[in-house]
Symmetry: C2
DNA sequence: CGGAATTCGTTCGTGTACAAATGATATACC
DNA sequence: GGTATATCATTTGTACACGAACGAATTCCG
């Protein structure tokens, strides 16, 4: 017999009725993400997380091609395209064709984009802190370690 | 036995250049989610996670109103509408007007939907297991505990 | 009782996400 | 050197996700 309420959720003794959606990693992961998104939106309403990630990464690595940037922030080509289009429309990034490789499109921060991201980085730190606030510092460190293992497979 | 100065990523002494996107909870959360989605899609290609969650929850609680169902699986009214529309088009759920409250629309599994979810629940367990596979059972338990704290705020 | 506030579902608009197909260009290698 | 293969960006189509505004129905409360 399974003992409900104990922390043993191992792969034994399972029946269909044992499935509780609210305890599945995927579901909780989605909810955790939702909470983070809400915190992000409350503090950085002006930019979405993917848009912010794009600027932050560009700030970190400098000019790169669109696809490579997508790889760096784990977005596929179709997705990054839209993000960059919107950032470009707001003049936060600029595109120039690659001199040697005519397939490529180089993306870089504009001065305006650089100013924006520099102003946002401290706030982004706060977003991280607030997201992790339910955990003690020790728990947060553990959590991040395990989360990274999970994310990287 | 604590390693002095090693894993101290506390909120001290920060500069803008200290921000590394790849270490922020939000970013890693998004990547972990992506990995989970890929595992889910590989095993349950036929249904999306929101669609699956909808069926699983209906299986758990039985007939409910559309909005209440949305609350149970953390989806807003606009989102659940689309999900239910698509499930309805595939005859996995059926809608009936509420007898007393004419604003409400009751959703329930069809026989076909019930059969489908019953067949999928064991596979869903495997999805959870595979997602958690990078962690030891002990780590997985810790992770889920911390993740829940994070998700619930 | 009756108007105010709430709830339920719907629609619209914007922004991810990703698969699949496409065209243009580059690289490999035979 | 020229074709097979790979890469880069784009487009199309589907599916969340959520804010905001809306009409219809219900509940609250004075």
């Amino acid at each position: 017999m399974s003992v409900p309420g104990k922390l043993k959720l191992v792969e034994e003794d399972r029946k269909a009725e044992d499935y509780r959606l609210d305890e599945q990693v995927g579901f909780v992961l989605r909810k955790a993400n939702q909470r983070h998104l809400a915190i992000f939106a409350a503090r950085i309403g002006d930019l979405t997380p993917p848009q912010f990630a794009t600027l932050a990464k560009l700030y970190e690595v400098g000019e790169t091609s669109q696809n490579r940037l997508g790889q760096l922030i784990a977005m596929d080509a179709a997705t990054i395209k839209g993000v960059i289009d919107r950032l470009k429309a707001r003049r936060l990034v600029a595109l120039t064709p690659h001199a040697q490789d005519r397939r490529r499109l180089l993306v870089d921060l504009t001065d305006e984009g650089r100013t924006a991201i520099e102003a946002l980085l401290p706030i982004a730190h706060e977003v991280t802190d607030e997201t992790l606030a339910p955990l003690t510092p020790r728990e947060a460190a553990t959590f991040l370690r395990l989360l990274s293992k999970l994310a990287d497979g």
